[in-house]
Structure formats: C-alpha cells, structure tokens
C-alpha cells in the first residue's frame, strides 16, 4: 500500500478505481450465467484497461482499445450471441468432469501466487530494443507510428495478410452450406444435417454424423423404389407432414428425382 500512496493523489485514485473496475468486470465475465451479461462485463473490463493505458502514457493504445475491443469485438460477440440465440443459463448440473472445477481453481490460484512471488524478485534487465524511447506523452502517436512504420514495417505488412486471411476464413467458415450434391457446401460433408436441425425444432440434434447420413440415404432411396407413381409428391409432401422427422430428407429425395 505504501507504493500506491507514494504516487500523487490523482494518480493513485485513478489507478484504484480503474483496477477495481477491471477486477469486478473480469469476475463478472466468469461468474455471469447469461452470455450477454458476460459480454457487457467484458466491456467494463476493457474500459478499465483503457483508463490504465491512459494512466501509463499510452494514449493511442487506449483509443484503439476502446474503438477496436469495446467497439468492434464485443459487438461481434453480442451479434453472435443474438444470432445463435444462446442467451440462456448454462447447464451446470450435468458435468462430465466433476473434479475439473476445483482443480482448475486451485491451479489458477497457485499460478497467481507463483507470479506474485516472482514479481517480488529482481526486475528484468537487458538491452533496450532498437525502436527508441517513449518520448513525452504528447508525442505518443508520433513515436509509435515511427516505430511501426520503420522498425516493425515487415510485421505490419504481414498483419495485412493476416487480416485478409481472417476475413476469407470467416466467410468460408460461417457460410451456410448449400444443400444438394452440386452445392458449394458439398466438401464439408453431411450437408443436410444443419437444415434438418434448424428447420424442425422438435427434432433432437443427431449425435453422430454417421446416423444422419444413413438416414438421408435410406430416405432418399425409399420413394423411388417403393412408390413408382407420384414419387415426387410422396417424397416432398407426405415426408414433410406425416413423418415429420425426415422433412429435409424428403427434400433431398425430391431433388434427386428431379436431377436426372
């Protein structure tokens, strides 16, 4: 406590308040049952860290922290939560690994104690980097810009490639696979299952991929062999209304009949 009090009063007050905001927000992320509450608590922690950045003369990083993290990343989290509709309580009753939580908490506290113990020792020393001194707080943007665009220019260029790869990867991953043999989603395999799960909420999700594939194949061959007349209508209408479970399978049978 003596170190905090050794600082000037505004600095100490700012640090204590921002640290409390950070810790409360971090605990809220972990302890909140609702993922939306977790995301909002994450915003709280990010703002606290941004205040600490300002306190440590990193104004540019504080602005980027607020804009990128709180403005973009958390909004992305909230968007995915709302899109998937998973803002419900976490089922903690069914726990396959009962001993994991106590062990995890013990390990975490052990690691924290170890780090704090190490922090009481010697400070790290060694050669300075070649990117220059911090400069006055007013020159923060200028200094960090010069560092990025001279010393770390190659890393900055590679960053642009990384972002491009991330954009392409996100589009490929989150794209809805097109059902049917000619669709673009064909290489992913089991293209009918997502529609089966989404279209009919009463159906439980298939446990394995093999079961769903077998089901589709048998359903696809059924209308062609069993009912020669009117197989299209039987496959699409009756399969959707009466059987209920195999509604998308009926669609697949419909498409397979049409294709030749």
């Amino acid at each position: 406590m003596t170190y905090v009090l050794a600082a000037s009063i505004p600095d100490a007050i700012t640090f204590v308040i921002a640290a409390a905001i950070c810790v409360v927000g971090a605990l809220g992320v972990v302890l909140a049952r609702n993922p939306v509450h977790s995301a909002l608590m994450l915003v709280m922690t990010l703002f606290g860290v941004a205040v600490l950045f300002v306190e440590e003369d990193a104004q540019f990083l504080a602005a980027v922290q607020v804009i990128v993290y709180a403005g973009a990343i958390v909004v992305l989290f909230l968007f995915v939560i709302m899109l998937l509709g998973i803002d419900q309580r976490e089922a903690i009753e069914r726990d396959p690994l009962p001993a994991q939580r106590p062990i995890a908490i013990c390990l975490g506290i052990l690691g924290l104690a170890e780090v704090l113990l190490l922090a009481r020792g010697q400070w790290p020393s060694g050669a300075r980097s070649v990117s220059g001194a911090l400069g006055s707080p007013a020159d923060n943007v200028q200094v960090i810009g010069r560092s990025i665009f001279t010393t770390y220019l190659l890393a900055f260029e590679v960053t642009s490639a990384l972002l491009a790869v991330a954009v392409v990867g996100a589009v490929v991953l989150a794209r809805r696979p097109r059902p049917g043999p000619g669709g673009n989603g064909a290489p992913l395999g089991a293209v009918v299952e997502p529609d089966a799960v989404i279209d009919d909420p009463g159906v439980a999700a298939p446990e394995t991929g093999e079961a769903g594939t077998v089901d589709v194949e048998t359903a696809g061959s059924e209308p062609g062999g069993g009912e020669p007349g009117g197989s299209e209508r039987g496959g699409s209408e009756r399969g959707g209304s009466e059987r209920g479970v195999s509604e998308p399978s009926g669609e697949l049978a419909h498409m397979e009949v049409i294709r030749p």
Binding site: V23, V30, P35, L61, I81, S131, G132, I144, A166, P194
Partner: protein
C-alpha cells in the same frame, strides 16, 4: 509521480488468473472465448507497463500487434462457433469432443 509498476503487474496477474480460471471452469464456448480476451488484455497491460518502466516504445508496438491478432482471432473463432452451433444447437464445450462431422 505515478503509481509504481509493480501494482500494474499485480493487477495484470490477477486479471490473467481470473481469465484462465474462467477458461477452465466455464462450459459455454462464447464465454470461454471472452476469457481468452481477458487474458490477452492482461498481457497487454503488462506490455504497456514494461514499456513505461523501461522507457521503450517497443512494448506499445507489441500491444498494437496483439490487438490486430486478437481481432483476427475473434473473427475466425466466432466463425467456427457459428458453424458449430449451426450443426448442433445448444452445444457446450463438452459436446465438441470429436472431429467427426
């Protein structure tokens, strides 16, 4: 005179520990992902603290690159999560135990 660097490092260690425990304890994939962000922020705080302590701008530059990588990581990770939830709604981290589609 500003607050000593050891207090910032202590705070960063606490934040990192909370994030690590949350990552191990929670089952919701999205919340686990948020805990990873928490740990990244703790590491950023350490970088900025050492940049001030050693009077070296390289720490802040490292934080800049960490921010970029974190943004890319979030985009790809959320894409994976969306595709997982599309295949099996309501999945937790325990349900994703195989690479079979």
């Amino acid at each position: 005179m500003s607050v000593a660097a050891s207090w910032y490092l202590t705070l960063a260690a606490v934040l990192f520990t909370i994030g690590a425990i949350g990552l191990l304890v929670r089952r919701n994939v999205l919340v686990m992902f948020m805990c990873v962000e928490l740990m990244l922020n703790a590491a950023n705080l350490t970088f900025v603290t050492f940049a001030r302590r050693l009077n070296d701008i390289a720490g802040q530059t490292a934080v800049f690159f960490v921010l970029v990588v974190a943004a890319a990581e979030v985009v790809v990770g959320l894409g994976i999560i969306v595709s997982i939830y599309r295949r099996r709604p309501g999945a937790t981290a325990d349900d994703i135990h195989g690479m079979k589609g």
